[in-house]
Structure formats: C-alpha cells, structure tokens
Amino acid sequence: MKKGYFGAFGGQFVPELLMPPLLELEEAMERILPSREFQDELKSELAHFVGRPTALTFCPNLSRDLGIRLWLKREDLAHGGAHKVNNTIGQALLCKKLGKTRLLAETGAGQHGVATALAAARFGLDCVIYMGALDVERQSLNVRRMKLFGAEVVAVESGTKTLKDAINAALRAWIAEQQTTHYCFGTAAGPHPFPLLVRELQAVISREARVQMLAQAGALPDYVVACVGGGSNAIGAFHEFVPDASVKLVGVEAAGSGQPGDWHSAPLSKQGSPGVLHGMHTQLIQTPDGQILPSHSIAPGLDYPGVGPEHAAYQASGRAQYVSVTDDVALDAFVTLSRHEGIMPALESSHALGWVLKTAKDMQPGSNVVVCLSGRGDKDLDIVNDYLAKKA
C-alpha cells in the first residue's frame, strides 16, 4: 500500500512548504515512538497524570431495561474530562524529543484545545490554540480553561468561523512556525502521519478495554460503539478489536437536526463523497463543484465536514459500520444515562449511546455492547438545559 494511505484514503495533500515538518514528524514517529524510553515515559504519564487505565463500567439499570449487557469505556474519567489527553500527552512528549518548544493546535468545541494547553503546561511548552470565532463565543468556558493553562487563544474570523477554518488557520500558522513549533493535531485525520500517530496514541482505549472485557465479562464484546467526528476516540476504541472478526465495530456520526436541507456532520453515513481537504483524501460533505459545505451538530466535537481516512477505509472494506443519529436522540441519551446510571456523558458520546438505546431491540438478547464514553457532559449543560426547557 502507498505510504500514508488506508486503502484509497489518506495521503499528504499539503503545500510543499509543509512537507519538511511532516517528513520530520514521520521520521520521529518511526524512530522515537516505539523506543523503550518514550514508551516508559508515556506509560508513566498516562498512569500518574492522566489517570489510566480508565474504568470499564457495567450499566446494570439500562442493561436490564434494554435486554443487553451495556458497558462504558470511561474516557470521561481521563484528566481533562475526555479522551483527547491521550493524544496530547503523547504529542507533547514527541514535541520535546523533537527539540521544539511550542505546541500549536486547532480546536472546535475546545476539548482538544484544553487537552493541548494542559499538556503544554505540564511539559513547559508554549501553546497557541486556533479556534473559530463562532466557537470562541459558544464555548467560552473552555476558552477560559485554555487561558488559565497559559495558552494563547486565537479567534479565527475567516470562512465559516468554526473547526474547519480553525484547521486552515493552524496549518497556515505551522508553515511559518515549523522550526520551533509542533502542530498537535487533534484527531485521527489530516495529512500523513497524523492519522497514524493519533491512532497509535488513542489505541490505548481499546488495548485496555479488550483486557477489561475479558477479565470482567469473560468474553470479547459483540459490539464496540463510538461517536465519529474526525474519529479519534472511535479509531482508538476500534483498533485492538479489528482482528477480532466477531466484534462488530459501529461508528456513530451526527445527523444534526435530521430535517431535510439542514446541515449535518455525517459524511460516511449520510451524503459524503470522496475528496481532498486538510491534507487527506477522504469522505467529505461537499458540493458537486468540490467546495466544502458547512457541517452541523448539537455536539460541537462532531461538527466537522470530513472524517479520518482510516474510517473511510473501514467503511469501504466493511470492517466497520457507520450510522448516524439526530440531535434529539443524543440529547435523550444524555438525560437517560444521567438519570439511570448516574453518569453524565458528553453530547458527542451521547450519539454513540443514543444509537445503542435505539438499536438494542434488534440485537441478540444478552449481547455485550461496549460504548466508548469519550468525554464528560459538564461542558454541555447549557445546551441540554435549553433543550429540556424547550421540550417542557
């Protein structure tokens, strides 16, 4: 297979000016990442700073109601409140080894920005976060958290003023700052080697979950279900289970309002087509002329018109299945899990859970279903309160 490709998807579609830092990163990834020294340091950080392994929690009440065995992989318990930190700690370590002194990153909802900022603080690195101006407004709490960790937050005023344009701005900034700065890409997408690097750093989710399932359930899961925006928590939750043919892998995208004509964030399961954006060949939401369309989801972390190339390849090969649920289904799942299990999921993770709540009736009774609970829901309380107020 061609370097940097997953089947027909992936690649390095960037200006030549970005090839030297990408080649440098690729070389560092191959040389440093597998080294004993790096792995020991990473393992120690994950244990003592991030708080890994995260729990695998059985849900007794929902399992009884649904007639399945529902398990949650608790990435909401990772430091920072989401899986994002698995990636940023690894990349911050790599940044140090590269001799660079500064992290730059894009962020949509602000979760990756927060995770990058706290990793920068821990490792004594400077940090600048690019965030769409609209997101800066919508996610002011996360902006304050980033600043508290010492990051500079740049509001991106161009284009749609959301994640898509924050990535454009971060790529532009990296061209100018490549000598001192590592681009800490937030999801398993973008130009090679980012999809591979982020997958390697997030695979800890499924490495732990596989061992935990065998120990706690005495069996492999029948389903592993995760939400997909760019797809980093999903690729991390899937990776170790890929060779286990009996394990069904389900990626849940955001269908938005579900109303005809409204934007969504589901290039795999609704109406995407292959194209090139942000350095990768993948499935995109675009016009027939190849212009990228705005996306929408009530979950800010899923609000992206593309998807990581490995997911596009898993869909093409049939190894994973991609579906979508609407804003309402996710909001109901948010409330249901809080009410019945005492766990408040992020709106992103609520999409994965919502699909399970909806689909459990079609599953073999007693199926073991693992949902990757990618983050905690505190950040989403305003959105959920508005929804409940409207519904009442």
């Binding site: 030549e16 161009s158 284009g159 061209i175 087509s273 090139v276 995109l284 675009q286």
Partner: protein, 259 residues
C-alpha cells in the same frame, strides 16, 4: 520535446532585459463581468503569463486577501465549468501564457482527465495546485500530460536540494519559488535588499531546475524587483493586484507601475 510555451514567454521577457511578469487574479474578481476586462487589460499591458485563481472554500496556502477574494467569487457562483467555458470562448485572444492556480479538490470533482482535456482545449498551458506536493502528483501528471497541460512545481525556502531534484525531474513550464515561509500576501518577503536566505534558496532553485524560476508570495512594491535581477526569471503578483483593485485601481494602471 518542444519548449513549453510558458518557458518561452519568460525567455522572451528575459531577452528584452526584464523579468517575466506574472499577475494573478482569482476568477470572477472583482465581479464576473469586470474580471474578463481586467484579464484583457493585463494581457494588453504586457503580462507574460496570466495566472487565474480557481476559487476554493478552504485555501490553506493563501492569506486573508486572496482567501477573501476567492470566497467572494464562490458566492458569485464561480466554478470550473464557468471558468473553462469562458476561457474556451476567448481562445486565441491572449498573447500571454495562461495558468490556472488553485487546490486539488475542485479539479478532482470535475474529473482529472476531463479537466486536462477541457483546460487544454480552452487554451490553458499550465496548472498550479497548491496542495499537491511531489508525493501526490503522479496521478495528476498522468492525467494532464497527454493533453499537453503542465503541472507547475512549487518550492520554497525550506525545500531541500533532494526534494528540488525530485521536482526538477518532472517540472515543466516554470518553477514557482515561494519567497516566504508563510501564506500569500501576509507580509513583504523583503524590502529593497534581499535577505541571504532568499538569495541562497533562489540560487539552489536556479541550480536544480533547467526551467525558469518565478518568485512569488510577498511582493508588494516595484522597487523589490531590482533586488531580484539576475537571481530569478519572473515575478508573480497576487495579493498586490487584488489590493490595487480593491483600492479603486485597475490592471492597466497596476501593470504600468510594475513594468
């Protein structure tokens, strides 16, 4: 192999003792009608090659001036079908060489082979795709080559001699040398004196390529051209022309200042 027409246009300018002049304007800017008047004016005012921008929603190699202009053109309904059919209707009208510059995705959706055919028969000589490095260029060259359409390489201050050699092997027309580690139009690459880094980079490009070297990104005022004498063969003006038009000027006036 016969010399590419873009190479010839720049050589002709050099023979007259000046740099080749390559203005850039996004297709449909400042509006869909006036754009073609501006292209006529550029051609009549001595442009050796005219670069027409193919607007894209996510132009990562461009700064705010070109991005803003491109998005305005997209809003006005500019797409590749419009650009190519309007060019086809004007085929044979221009003395200047014609280059289309943009990003891969719109071209990919149009269809690589179909684009190669239609662009070539509309009188286009070359294409610059800002997000296609050497590693991804194979299928594109394979689609364009049979139509005689050339893919123009783009290199910069951080391009190693090894990578320049890769591009030199396949490069046709001219090579676009990016004079700043940055995006288009963000800042002046240099004042009247040329920094050593650019001088060294240009020397490396001149040594690596046997096609003309055009310098672009960061050219703001005509005095900069003097500093380039003997180091490059041509100069590209993008953001500066857009700014000139935004300030109420036209292409003819712009070219008179730079020529």
């Amino acid at each position: 192999m016969s010399t590419n027409i873009l190479t010839k246009r720049i050589a002709a300018a050099r023979a007259k003792g000046r740099l080749g002049l390559i203005p850039f304007l996004p297709a449909g800017y400042p509006d869909k009608n006036r754009f073609w008047d501006e292209i006529d004016a550029l051609d009549e005012s001595g442009a050796d090659i005219i670069e027409i921008g193919m607007p894209f929603s996510d132009p990562v190699a461009d700064g705010p001036v070109v991005e803003h202009a491109s998005l305005k053109c997209l809003d006005a309904g500019v797409n590749l079908s419009w650009i190519l059919s309007e060019l086809a209707a004007r085929k044979g009208r221009y003395k200047a060489g014609l280059v289309l510059m943009g990003y891969l995705n719109p071209v990919l959706q149009y269809g690589l082979e179909r684009f190669g055919r239609d662009a070539s028969s509309a009188g286009v000589h070359g294409v610059i795709l800002a997000d296609v490095p050497f590693e991804e260029s194979g299928p594109i060259r394979a689609a364009f080559d049979p139509c005689g359409l050339v893919l123009i390489p783009l290199v910069g201050l951080n391009t190693t001699p090894g990578r320049m050699a890769l591009y030199a092997r396949e490069g046709r027309g001219f090579v676009y040398f990016v004079s700043v580690l940055g995006t288009t139009g963000v800042r002046s690459a240099f004042d009247t004196g040329l920094p050593e880094t650019i001088r060294t980079g240009l020397a490396a490009a001149k040594a690596a390529f046997d096609i003309p070297v055009a310098l672009g990104f960061g050219l703001k005022h005509p005095d900069q051209l003097k500093a380039l004498d003997g180091l490059v063969d041509a100069a590209v003006f993008g953001s500066a022309l857009i700014r000139h038009i935004d300030a109420g000027g036209d292409s003819k006036g712009f070219m008179q200042v730079w020529k």
